[in-house]
Each structure stands twice: as structure tokens, then as C-alpha cells.
């Protein structure tokens, strides 16, 4: 009964969405206030209905109702409750339901908080949002129904993929989808603006918080995903340039560019056409990611069960949404007149440079991800473009951007003086030099990139602090006044400072872990020791045990450096009862200087002839900084979101123009 209720609620949501996608749009075109007004209740209703559907599926999972195929395929009675719940979105059908739930959530948020939006803009935004939803409801109902029954019901389920039974991955998809789908807001606003033929500061002020919120979630999602890969895949790596990872990284790059160009639209009334295009591209990248993951056109470590009919459906959806919006852009885009002029060396110029680099980087990742597909399509054989391509192309593109990032915020709007800006950055230059020397002295045999990376991280980090101290006139006014300036900084300004600072910390982490990682693989019998990066790992043996739904072999390592404090690592190798799949749980100790990381593998024979285990030991320098930096970035974004300007939304000027428009429509 619950399954049918959920299914029915989803069908109802489709019909509400169809109404919401058409009537307000027509109403806005004809100036029909009543039709426009129905968008808000419809959006709230839609959310309610999808929430019911989602609640029903969750209930089926919690109660282990094995008469539902989706539950059978992805659940098991022995599974801990948290994974019963996360199992809801740990599969194709359920994750699509989560997708539309979040889409409806954002739509209802506009309906609930959009009281001060011009009515026609609000109606159009909600209609576009709903138009996307219609496509996804049809997709779920026609090709991926999570409520399908299985008769006769088996006694138990197949269990969720053990790799997904992990706290990091339980929250990874919701975060990622809040990001992906959050960009639909910027998209809907962009399309609505194209239809209205008007982009102004008020529009940008509305788009920015939505984009920022989506960006924060996406950053968190990507961070969780890489953290999970780091400790669960057991290879010490944290980014594999896998198609699915790239699918989340491309919208992040484009979204970051959008965030910056929307600032220019808001402050300087220029770069309008570009910003609209970025908004379209950012959401298109989210949709493309969905297509790549679900259609089976590319292989990936975490591919969903693929189905060609789904692929065709998503491709058609993609062509309608992306093709349609780009056609609209080609038609209406030229009418967006920018008024603000600026010199190449200016704050706008810096932000434009950021945009160009981010767009190029997005294109590079897209090319690398799709290259196997493109080559296969022209019968060029099956190839795979791996990390070597991305590292060789992506990193050189990003280096100049990081260099400019410290300078940009010090430039004035409209016309800047780069000599003066660089002159003020002398502490950053000193820091970069010191970091390079330190990196070179500490890791004499490391790659050049390690030295460059550390120098850039120091340059950006200190450069950002220099900009902050300029803003509070540190040293040029009495300290008390500087401190008072510091406390009165708008939160949006803190967002920028923390965002850039976080990136500097992340770059340091990525450089350390990427360039200086140390690893060793060997067979160790109990009592054996191995030395890595100055740490002595003593293997104390392994014991077996039983988890809720798995059997585990837990190894014990005692690690110490120069006779100092002993650290105990307990990596596990688990074999899940139902699927028989083994997973690794790395034993990790995180320190400021890096992580010591141990993995226990299969049984083997040690060099001394005793029975032992294959062990992999790593020292990942500074790796924790990477996620720490992401946290700082997210904090910055969240702080910026609470800025008064965003909360209050559109300022008086747009109220005036809305009133003028309403008067004009009468």
C-alpha cells in the first residue's frame, strides 16, 4: 500500500508540475496576474507530493518491505538503520527520486521566500524550474520507477553495495545533489531573464545566494566523496579523475566562475551575456553528469546499473533543456546590453580572467572525460584518458589563475593599478619564496611541482591576508580602529577572504599529498616492522570478528617516530555476508604534518617464511589540509549567505521597477 501511495503521489506531482510549467509562463506573457500567482501554491504542492513519495520509499526501506523490487535489490534486514535509510538513494531509482525532491525543495524555497521578486520574474522562474521537473518525473515514472513490486517477495534482500555502507558516502549523494540541483535555480533565473530580456543588479543579487548555496553543498559533496575514496578504496589516493568525479567537478568549476561573474553583474552592470551563458552551462554540466553516470556511455568505478532506454531518455531531455536554452540564448542573448565599461587591469578584468580560466578548465575536464566516447563514436577504438592527461593539462591551466587570484581583490573596480597592487603584496612574495625554499630543503628529491604548489599556496594565503589588512587599514590607522573595521566587515567580504584562504590551504594539502606521498607494500608477519618516512610500523597481528552484516579481519599496527608517542592503527578488511564482497577500511591517524595510513590485505607469506598479511603503508603529507581548506571555503560561503544584503534580497530599486512594470502591464 505504501508503495502505491508513493507512486500515486509522484504521478500527482507530475500533473502539478505540468500545470506549474505552463500556466504561470503563459500568464506572465499575457500579464495575467491570476495565472502567474498559481505558481507559488503549485510549487509548494509539488514539494509536498514529492516529499510524500520520498517518505514512502524511505518507509519501505526502514521496514524492509521486500515486495518492492528496489528494496530487494538494495537492502537487507541485517543492515544497520542508517544504511537502510541511505540505501534509499544508494541506487539509480531512489537517487533520481532524491534529485526531484531537491528540485522541488528549491522551487518551493523560491515560492516561500520570493515575496519581493517581481511577480512576472517569479512566475517565469517557477515555470522553468517546473519544466525541468516534468522531464525528470517522466523519466522516473517511465524508466526508473522505484515503487515497482516484486511478486513473490523474497525472504530477504540483496543488500546495498558494501562500498556504499559507509558514513561518508551516506551523506555524499544528498550533498552532491543539493549542489547539482541547486544550480537549477541559477538556470531558471537565467532563462526567465532571457525571456524578459532584462538582466540587472537586482537579478544578480537574487541569483547569487542560490548559486552560492548550491556551490557550498557541491563543495561539501565533492569533499565527502574524495574523503570516502581516500579511506574506503584503500589506495591512499583521493581523486582519480574518474568520469563520475569529473561529472561533479565540471559543475563546480563552472559554478565557481558563475559566482564570480554574477558579482560583476551585480556591482558593475556588465558581463551580462556571459553570466547568463555561465548559468546555463553550469546547470547543463549537472545534467550532463547525470547523463554520463546513468546512461552507461562511459565506464566508471561507481557506475549505476545502466540501461540504454534510460540513456536515450536522458539524452532527449538533455537536448531539449540544454539545446532549447542555448537556442533561446542565441536568439535573445544579443539584446542584453551591458553598460559598465572597464579596463583590462581592473577588478572586473581579474574576475573575467578567473572566468576564462575556469571555463577553459571546465572544457578541458569535459574533453578528457568525453574523449573515450568521442573516439569510440568515430570507431577510433576504446581508450581511456587517465590522470596523466588531466594532471598534465589541468594543473598548468590553474597555476596562473592562482597567481592572479591574490592580485585581483587588490585592484579597483573599473580601472586598477597592478603595479601598486603587486607592490603591496610584498609579504606574500616573501612567504612564497620562503615556502619554496622550505619545500626544497625538506623534500630534496621531490618533483618541481611540489615546490611550485607550496609557493603558490603561500602566495595566495598571505596575499589574501594582505588584502584583508588593506581593507581594515591595518598599520595605517590606530590598531583599535582597524580592529573595529575588522568586526564591521560585511559577511560577504568575509566570504571572499575565507574562500580564497581555504583554497590556499587546500592547495597546500593537494601539493603535499600529491607530490610527496610515500608508500610501501609488503607481506608482514606478526612482529615484523617496516619503516616509511621515518615512521616505524610494527605489525602486531590480526584478529577476526563479526560486524552487524559483515565478517572482519582487523589488523593492528603500532607506529612510532624516533621513539616518540606510539600510535595504534587498526585497518580492517571486511567481507559482507550477503554479497560476499570484500571492502577495506584503512587505519588512519591524521596529524598536522600528514596522515599515516595502513591497509591490511590478503594473507601471504612473509620473506622470513612465516604466514602473514599483505600490508600497504602510506605517509600522505598534509593531506588533511585539503579537506580542512574545503571546510574553510564552505564556511566562507555559508557566512556570505547570511549577509544582510542576501537576506533582504532585492533592494528598493527593483521594487520600483517591479511596480513600474506592473503599472505598464495594466
Amino acid at each position: 500500500m505504501t508503495a502505491e501511495l508513493g507512486h500515486f503521489a509522484l504521478i500527482l506531482a507530475l500533473f502539478v508540475a505540468i500545470a506549474q510549467a505552463t500556466l504561470p509562463l503563459v500568464g506572465a506573457h499575457r500579464g495575467h496576474a491570476g495565472w502567474m500567482a498559481m505558481a507559488r501554491p503549485a510549487a509548494l504542492m509539488q514539494f509536498l507530493l514529492v516529499a510524500v513519495a520520498f517518505g514512502c520509499l524511505t518507509h519501505l526501506y526502514i521496514t524492509s518491505d521486500f515486495s518492492v523490487l528496489n528494496v530487494v535489490q538494495n537492502s537487507h534486514t541485517d543492515k544497520p538503520l542508517i544504511y537502510k535509510i541511505s540505501g534509499v538513494w544508494g541506487n539509480h531509482e531512489g537517487s533520481m527520486l532524491l534529485w526531484v525532491l531537491i528540485l522541488a525543495l528549491f522551487g518551493s524555497a523560491v515560492a516561500a521566500f520570493g515575496a519581493n521578486l517581481p511577480p512576472s520574474l517569479r512566475a517565469r522562474v517557477l515555470s522553468i524550474q517546473s519544466l525541468i521537473a516534468v522531464g525528470f518525473y517522466l523519466f522516473i515514472l517511465l524508466t526508473s520507477n522505484p515503487f515497482e513490486r516484486l511478486i513473490p517477495a523474497p525472504v530477504n534482500g540483496n543488500d546495498l553495495n558494501p562500498l556504499l555502507q559507509d558514513p561518508g558516502l551516506a551523506f555524499h549523494p544528498p550533498m552532491l545533489y543539493l549542489g547539482y540541483v541547486g544550480f537549477s535555480m541559477a538556470f531558471s533565473f537565467a532563462i526567465a531573464a532571457l525571456i524578459e530580456g532584462r538582466v540587472d543588479a537586482a537579478w544578480a543579487r537574487w541569483v547569487r545566494p542560490w548559486t552560492l548555496a548550491a556551490w557550498c553543498f557541491l563543495t561539501a559533496g565533492i569533499g565527502l566523496g574524495s574523503w570516502w575514496a581516500y579511506y574506503e578504496l584503500g589506495w591512499g589516493g583521493w581523486w582519480y579523475w574518474d568520469p563520475v568525479e569529473n561529472a561533479s567537478f565540471m559543475p563546480w568549476l563552472a559554478g565557481t566562475a558563475l559566482l564570480h561573474s554574477a558579482t560583476v553583474v551585480e556591482k558593475r552592470d556588465t558581463l551580462k551575456g556571459w553570466t547568463i551563458l555561465l548559468a546555463i552551462i553550469t546547470f547543463s554540466m549537472s545534467l550532463l553528469g547525470t547523463f554520463l553516470v546513468r546512461s552507461g556511455v562511459l565506464t566508471s568505478v561507481h557506475a549505476f546499473a545502466t540501461d540504454p532506454t534510460r540513456g536515450v531518455f536522458i539524452l532527449v531531455l538533455l537536448i531539449i533543456v540544454i539545446g532549447g536554452s542555448l537556442a533561446l540564448y542565441a536568439w535573445r542573448g544579443p539584446q542584453l546590453i551591458s553598460t559598465g565599461l572597464f579596463q583590462p587591469i581592473s577588478r572586473e578584468g581579474g574576475l573575467l580572467f578567473n572566468n576564462l580560466v575556469m571555463a577553459t578548465a571546465t572544457a578541458v575536464v569535459l574533453l578528457g572525460t568525453l574523449y573515450p566516447l568521442l573516439l569510440d563514436a568515430i570507431d577510433g577504438g576504446k581508450v581511456s584518458v587517465g590522470p596523466p592527461f588531466f594532471n598534465a593539462v589541468f594543473i598548468p591551466i590553474m597555476l596562473p589563475m592562482i597567481a592572479v587570484m591574490a592580485v585581483g581583490p587588490l585592484l579597483n573596480w573599473k580601472r586598477g593599478d597592478w603595479r601598486a597592487a603587486v607592490a603591496r603584496l610584498w609579504p606574500a612574495m616573501v612567504a612564497a619564496l620562503l615556502a619554496a625554499i622550505a619545500a626544497w630543503a625538506l623534500v630534496t628529491d621531490g618533483p618541481l611541482l611540489g615546490i611550485i604548489g607550496m609557493a603558490l599556496a603561500a602566495w595566495l594565503g598571505i596575499g589574501t591576508l594582505v588584502e584583508l589588512s588593506e581593507r581594515i587599514r591595518l598599520g595605517r590607522e590606530p590598531l583599535a580602529r582597524s580592529v573595529s573595521r575588522l568586526t564591521r566587515q560585511p559577511r560577504a567580504a568575509w566570504g571572499m577572504t575565507l574562500g580564497h584562504l581555504g583554497l590556499a590551504v587546500t592547495i597546500a594539502g593537494m601539493t603535499g599529498a600529491g607530490a610527496w606521498v610515500k608508500e610501501s607494500i609488503q607481506v608482514m608477519a606478526p612482529g615484523d616492522t617496516a619503516t616509511l618516512a621515518g615512521y616505524e610500523f610494527r605489525f602486531d597481528g590480526a584478529s577476526t570478528g563479526q560486524g552487524p552484516n559483515y565478517a572482519t579481519t582487523m589488523g593492528k599496527f603500532t607506529v612510532s617516530k624516533d621513539g616518540g608517542r606510539a600510535i595504534v592503527l587498526t585497518p580492517e578488511k571486511r567481507v559482507y555476508n550477503v554479497s560476499g564482497t570484500p571492502t577495506t577500511e584503512a587505519g588512519i591517524e591524521t596529524m598536522m604534518s600528514g596522515d599515516i595510513y595502513a591497509v591490511i590485505g590478503d594473507q601471504g607469506t612473509a620473506p622470513n617464511g612465516k604466514p602473514g598479511f599483505v600490508t600497504r603503508l602510506y605517509f600522505n603529507p598534509l593531506v588533511g589540509w585539503m579537506w580542512g581548506g574545503l571546510l574553510i571555503m564552505i564556511t566562507g560561503g555559508a557566512l556570505s549567505l547570511t549577509d544582510r544584503r542576501h537576506r533582504i534580497g532585492a533592494p528598493a530599486s527593483s521594487q520600483r521597477s517591479a511596480a513600474a512594470q506592473a503599472a505598464g502591464a495594466d
Binding site: 523474497p154 525472504v155 540483496n158 539545446g323 542565441a330 566516447l373
Partner: protein, 182 residues
Amino acid sequence: MRGRLIFLLPLCLFLVLAIYFAVGLTKDPKIIPSALIDKPAPEFNLPPITGGTGPGFSTADLKKGTVSVVNVFASWCVPCRAEHPEINKLAKMGIVPVYGLNYKDQPQDALAWLQKLGNSYTAIGADESGRVGIDWGVYGVPETFIIDGTGRIRFKHVGPIVGDKLETVILPMIRQIQAGGQ
């Protein structure tokens, strides 16, 4: 005019990409399961389940001139349990021999499973290592193949045969291949 053309560029780029996607969709980047269709079944010679009775199962069994069905199953696979009554039903109809390919299973588990749910396979081959399954392109159990009298794979069904799948998919396909002559 030039200004307008620039606004058209993103659309053009996207359309080119969409064409590639459309072509890409027609190709499977993984082992192409349909690649085996109309090809001779891979050569193999499997022993029976250790401790069980009956003969093993080899390629020769599939070349006896009659259409046959090969069902890939395992005791650890829950959908197999769901489809097993249908497999028994098909075997009892007597229109085709139904062979079992016991995939990556423990012998004692498999025997207990068959004891409990009934064993109506003509013969079972035990593929403990999963080596033969790889040759057959098995990527999830259960899978069911229909082989014509000359030992060529003519049809593959992925997933459990439950609901009306036996009547609407498997039986018509068997009849069609039987009628089509070998």
C-alpha cells in the same frame, strides 16, 4: 552580425556534442553482451557440483541439435531464488533441456539450495572460479541464455525470470528459435 553569431556558437558546439552522445549511446563501453548473440557459445567443460550427482556440463551438451536453455544461478543470489520456481516450471514442460551454470558458489551451499528449492536442471556445471562466466559475459546473476541446436547463443535475458517473463519473453523466444530451424 558578427556579434549575433557568437551567441550561436554555444548552441552549435552543444549540437555537435549531442550527435556524439547519440552515437555513443549505441555503443556499450563494457563487454558488449550482445556481441555473443549469434556467436557460438564459448568452449568450456565444467564438472558437476562437488558432492552432487549427475553429469557435468560442457559445450558438447549444447550441440546436440535441440534448442537448449542455460540458466546462470547461485545460492547467494536472492533474485535467483525468486526466479527458481519459473525455471523448474520451464524444465518440467519438457520442451527444452535446461542447463544450470552454478556461478561462483560454494558446493555445499549450492547443493543445500537445490535440495530445498528443487533441482530440475538437465545438468549443472560448477563454475566455482567464475572463469566460464567471464567468457559468457555474465555480469550479474541470474542470467539466462537460449542456445540453438548448433551451439550458437541466440538470446540473452539479464535478471530474474519472474512475473510473466516466462510466458511473454522466454517461451516465445524458444518457440521462435525452434521454428526458425537450425
